[in-house]
Subunit: 202 residues, 2 copies
Amino acid sequence: MGKGEQTRQLIVDRALTMAQRIGLEQVTLGVLADELDLSKSGLFAHFKSKEQLQLEVVAEAVARFTSTVILPALKAPRGLPRVQQLFEGYLRWIDSASGSSAHTGGCILMAFSYEYDDRPGPVHDAIQKAMQDWLDCIARVAKTAVDAGELAAGLDVKQFAFEFDGLLMAFHHAFKLHRNPRAEPMARKALAHLLERSTPTR
Amino acid sequence: MGKGEQTRQLIVDRALTMAQRIGLEQVTLGVLADELDLSKSGLFAHFKSKEQLQLEVVAEAVARFTSTVILPALKAPRGLPRVQQLFEGYLRWIDSASGSSAHTGGCILMAFSYEYDDRPGPVHDAIQKAMQDWLDCIARVAKTAVDAGELAAGLDVKQFAFEFDGLLMAFHHAFKLHRNPRAEPMARKALAHLLERSTPTR
DNA sequence: ACACCAAAAGCACGGTCGTGCTTTTACCTC
DNA sequence: GAGGTAAAAGCACGACCGTGCTTTTGGTGT
């Protein structure tokens, strides 16, 4: 629990920041060390390989996503509020990842998933699992809304999660790549459409 | 119009294929030359810099997308059929990009946009433009359906394009990252939902 | 068939990559 | 404050990076 663990955390944090701008595979031990005023070998001594550093960076990203998006949502009351909070949490996630110069950042997990979707290995597996967990989480939360009678009884929650996720990706795309200021209102409208359709007929 | 242009095309093609697996930034002149049985310098002589090669690769990807997705859709009758054909074209695009070992490939433009969304430069600009054109195309096609009275008169076509695009991204995600065999049926259902909601009330 | 010119190769360069060593520094415990 | 241990640095390595040259090859037009 000494200094080692502390600098190790510093390294992972900085590597994550750097990966957000240039991609995880482009984060090089040399420039990472420079940026942290460390020697390359001093930095490397904390990890048994570059791949392990990458894995820790992915794990850190997942942990941040969980604490920023998922945990807060699970504190909301079961049912629709929770669905709503998943949405709000994701917006917060994209926003908080945006640097001061605006619109840098974005969903690092999305970026990772595109970077590694055709690169087999532990990194790919970790990302795939995180994304699957996210989809499952959406579906599970939707199920609580169904059980509460706030969403239609026959709702296909997997389908719901599919469309919910798509809407968030569209938001991310509009916000991040196109710098479209209407990204958020459009996302809210899309969510309204989705919820409206999934409402119980009475 | 001689042999030079031909090998140049061969290089760009192969670079695109490679970029699909490992990312454009990871396509290195050395391994590209090896794969084509060329010398590194012989290959390099065709381009004044690596960035120019990257730009040509992006241009090639855009050209393929246009001829696979957009042009065929524009041959369909104006209105709903065209919207439907944009959807079918995108599915074909993802499918055709899938290698023999199944599920490699995917939407290379999407991958590029995530790779370069925080890397300013000509490559970023080219990709951003291509994506904007795609969104505009969706909106324009939707407009033809509105004019034909096949979609609701008051429909916000930008919003429609936003949600249409999100649905395709969800499909891509499910198909590519999760290897979910239900990706296509889920996408069709999502499209049905979107169209249903956009139908004129009568 | 020959000359010409484009295409490819050969070679070299400074730099950086990831990863092993050994050596020095700095922190924590008595 | 001294001693031991953990952390960081120093150094070296083979390999590969992108990019310039010069030289050789080979296709084409006459």
